[in-house]
Amino acid sequence: MKISFKVNGAARELDAPPLQRLLDALRLVLGLTGTKEGCAEGECGACTVLLDGEPVNACLVPVGQCQGREITTVEGLGAAGHLSPLQRCFIDHGGAQCGICTPGVLISAEHLLRRNPDPDDDAIREALAGNLCRCTGYQRIIESVRAAAVLRRADARDVGDPRDVGDARGARDVSHDRQEAP
């Protein structure tokens, strides 16, 4: 069936079997491989995306249900070469290791910070309860989200327009951060 929806702000149209997993539509059809698959049964959270602003496991959502709706993936968190505060802080505080859980964790954390700009550690843990990580031991993920909350609050402008954040904050240690494109 023909499905039109918005992905990361852009209108997309595809012809897909209605029961195709949203995860496969994103990864295989639209080439947005940032969203990862870790279990295919809603346990690990690696495929978390925002559907109309709410976090869902893309492995459990048939693409046929996405008609007319809005999806945000990890690729839509920053903008035009700039990182969101969460992305920035996951680099600064070592929240990402192998990188498979990272996109889903970032999406869950984004959803948290949109609703709760000043979460305590328990609120962060609760929000990330559906995201498994096998590398970091979670502590640095919590530290990263905590730092991102501070960063977002520190500059109200950042919350409104994350595109400014890369310039405002990224300059701090730009020498330590560089796109790796092997």
Partner: protein, 744 residues
């Protein structure tokens, strides 16, 4: 203005961080190819027997199905075991997918359905009908313990147990105080977050470009070449990002075999991704039984150490790991005896999993030491210190360095160990029993042969490459940092490449030896470039460095400066321009200094202190505090180093309290083969973890003095938790994991 140079030891951000937080990092299943086909694996439903019938007609009838590969229609394959043996293969006959009708374990691949889309392949795979002529199987280690036998050596890096010293059994019988207990631990699966996947691109000239999830591209290349009779230069293996592995990518897994086979047969590009369930159909940490008996004087001096272990293995290979050797190495004791055996079961061959062997052996030894401390009415830390050894009595060699005393002291101080009340059940908060436990950890510090290439361009950009991998550990970052520090360049001007068989070869990423091995090669190759630059700088007309020697200059800020007068400097770019060198290139291979290293035992050490709170009514265990003090030589990259230990400590929590792959012995198959029922630690399981790196100098282990950190962080953690649980509850649980039912 140029950024400041980075030094070895600084805590820099992960250089691949941006790629990972933006979703741009590409993993094995994410590379595209024209006309890519998707494979779906059909797994055996029985543990042992023969395939009686295999009906693929319904699957083939599905529109979009291109082929179904089985043992009946497979192409010719290599004949000898040798061809299937990879760098990490133990002794025996490696498993051959789709080779014949024999079923040797449950979950074994029996067919690969190849189709134009993933959905069609998955659907058609459900239509493949297989019947079996089953044979009786045995999958229970307890039932086969009596039949355990000596393992055949042959696995790289495996050291059989040392010869006994003194007479341990006699000393044990005579000892004033003794403990003698059996410890059991279940099978565990690595469960990296990324499933194993391979994308094989069939190039127009018939060559294969293989994007594989692996801990060693060379290993995959050699395996594929040997098995399919291809020349290595027709097989390029690429693996820029690996979504965790922990040992699961040390051997080429069957998805790479099947994807290559399909690509070869169909002359098309093929991708095969395993499901999470199928992640439980290859290597794992073996279920293991151990006995540790310790005898001591009334003052707590060890008189006897006996350590025996039996691990499971498959019928076709002797998986071996070093479980018992550590016990005669960690403490001073003149009487020691070891035994290590394997028991054959109808399962797949186990596989190295983070700190293989050591994590089990130290669980048993350090639990037994704790039991001995109570028998002696002695503080557990005091007991360890009373038996501290400056010499490895197994080999009668000194340690190249051993700052374990500092680990004990700093860890205990940070934790507040001196406030511990010695009696079990003496500390509580409301209905929660509080327990403090500790344990020692040890792991080998190894170095392997490795090679690296470096190209410095006149614009000051340095590209260094080696065919190693980064399974999330931080190889990109550590190597970039080493290279940048040697040439005095900002991190942003250095690119490190890995995971490609066109790069100079590196060993498998395992054993915690990557920084020691590849780091040494990167250091050497960058020093060779530095020397070339220095020669050019000296030769320049009117060079202020004309009279200088290499040890009188420093490289910083893109310049070669006289150390005693940094204003006397030549820029790297100017030196290269003057020498008409647009690029300077070096390639170097480095070997460990075997003769010198052989004089010493080289090891990392740790001391782990743990606080648990146990709900007295429900038996629920929370690990509320961990202090892990590590003696790991020189720390190369402080941030990624800390991450390695944090993650490993949480693996220890998983091992102690949660992780267990449960086998249904009637069916001979793992039952909890998913992330819902195989419990890995989650956010809520983790509280306060502190990491201390104690300073440790070591000039023997390798020129960097770095000992490796991937494994040491998990060793000892399970014992420390088990010991804390005993301190809290007075209950000694000797079979992992310590689930609440065992405490009620």
């Amino acid at each position: 203005m140029r950024g400041e140079a980075t030094r070895i030891g600084d805590g820099i951000n992960r250089v691949d961080g941006r790629a990972k937080v933006t979703g741009q990092a590409k993993y094995a299943a994410e590379f595209e190819a024209e006309g890519l086909l998707h494979g779906w694996v059909v797994s055996s439903g029985v543990a042992k027997g023969k395939i009686a019938t295999l009906d693929t007609s319904a699957a083939l009838a599905v529109e979009g199905v291109v082929h179904v590969l089985t043992h009946e229609n497979r192409p010719r394959l290599a004949w000898f075991d040798k061809s299937y043996r990879d760098e990490d293969a133990p002794a025996g006959s490696p498993f051959r997918p789709l080779y014949d009708d024999a079923i040797v374990y449950s979950g074994q691949p029996v067919a690969l359905v190849v189709a134009t889309t993933l959905e069609i392949a998955r659907h058609a795979a459900s239509l493949v009908r297989v019947t079996y002529k089953t044979e009786e199987h045995e999958t229970d280690l307890a039932a086969r313990r009596e039949k355990a036998r000596k393992a055949r050596p042959g696995k790289g890096g495996y050291e059989p147990p040392p010869k006994p010293r003194g007479n341990a059994d006699e000393a044990l019988a005579k000892a004033a105080v003794k403990v003698d207990a059996a410890y059991e631990s279940p099978a565990e699966h690595h469960n990296p977050m990324e499933m194993h996947a391979t994308t094989v691109v069939h190039e127009p000239d018939g060559a294969l470009t293989i994007y594989d999830k692996t801990q060693g591209v060379t290993n995959t290349q050699t395996y594929v070449s040997n098995v399919f009779g291809l020349k290595p230069d027709q097989v390029r293996v690429i693996s820029p990002f690996v979504g965790g592995a922990f040992g699961s990518g040390l051997r080429p897994q069957y998805q790479v075999f099947l994807a290559v086979m399909a690509a070869q047969v169909l002359k098309r590009s093929v991708r095969v991704t395993l499901t999470r369930q199928q992640m439980f159909t290859f290597g794992y940490r073996p279920a293991t039984w151990q006995r540790v008996a310790l005898g001591a004087t009334a003052e707590g001096k060890l008189e006897a150490v006996v350590h025996e272990a039996i691990g499971e293995t498959s019928r076709f290979e002797d998986y071996v790991e070093v479980v018992v050797n550590w016990s005669g190495l960690l403490y001073q004791c003149d009487n020691a005896r070891y035994d290590y055996k394997v028991a054959e079961l109808d399962v797949y061959t186990p596989l190295d999993m983070r700190a293989p062997g050591a994590v089990l052996g130290l669980y048993a030894l350090e639990s037994a030491m704790d039991e001995l401390s109570y028998a002696l009415h002695m503080d557990p830390l005091a007991l360890r210190l009373a038996n501290y050894t400056e010499r490895d009595q197994n080999t009668d060699k000194p340690f190249s360095s051993k700052e374990l005393r500092a680990c004990y002291a700093q860890g205990a101080a940070r934790f507040g160990w001196e406030k511990r009340l010695p009696t079990p059940r003496a500390m509580r908060e409301g209905n929660k029993l509080v327990g403090w436990g500790m344990a020692t950890g040890i792991w080998e510090a190894m170095q392997q042969k490795a090679a690296a290439r470096a190209v410095l361009s006149i614009d000051g950009k340095l590209v260094v490459g080696s065919g190693t991998s980064d399974i999330g550990t931080g190889t990109y970052t550590a190597m970039t940092q080493i290279a940048a520090s040697i040439l005095g360049l900002p991190i942003a001007d250095v690119t490190f490449k890995l995971g490609d068989t066109t790069l100079p070869p590196a060993p498998l990423q395992g054993g915690s030896w990557t920084v020691a091995s590849v780091g040494t090669a990167v250091k050497a190759v960058c020093e060779a470039v530095r020397e070339q630059v220095f020669k050019l700088a000296k030769k320049m007309k009117g060079s202020p460095l004309a009279q200088a020697s290499l040890d009188e200059v420093i490289f910083a800020g893109g310049e070669v400066r006289l150390a005693r007068d940094p204003a006397q400097a030549v820029s790297i770019a100017a030196a290269m321009r003057a020498g008409e060198a647009f690029t300077l290139e070096e390639e170097t291979s480095t070997l460990p200094q075997l003769q010198e290293q052989a004089k010493y035992t080289r090891a990392t050490h740790s001391a782990v202190f743990v606080e648990v709170k146990v709900d007295e009514d429900l038996g629920k265990v929370e690990v509320t505090r961990v202090v892990s003090a590590i003696a790991g030589g020189r720390i190369v990259s402080a941030k990624t180093a800390r991450s390695q230990i944090l993650g490993a400590v949480v693996w220890g929590i998983g091992m102690a309290l949660e992780e267990e792959t449960l086998m249904d012995h009637d069916l001979g198959r793992f039952m909890n083969h998913n992330l819902a029922e195989y419990h890995v630690p989650v956010n809520a399981d983790v509280r306060d973890i502190e990491v201390i790196f104690v300073p440790e100098e070591d000039e023997v282990v390798n020129p960097l003095g770095a000992k490796g950190l991937g494994e040491i962080g998990i060793v000892g953690v399970a014992a420390a938790i088990a010991n804390a649980v005993f301190h809290a509850t007075g209950k000694r649980v000797r079979d992992l994991p310590i689930t609440l039912d065992k405490l009620l």
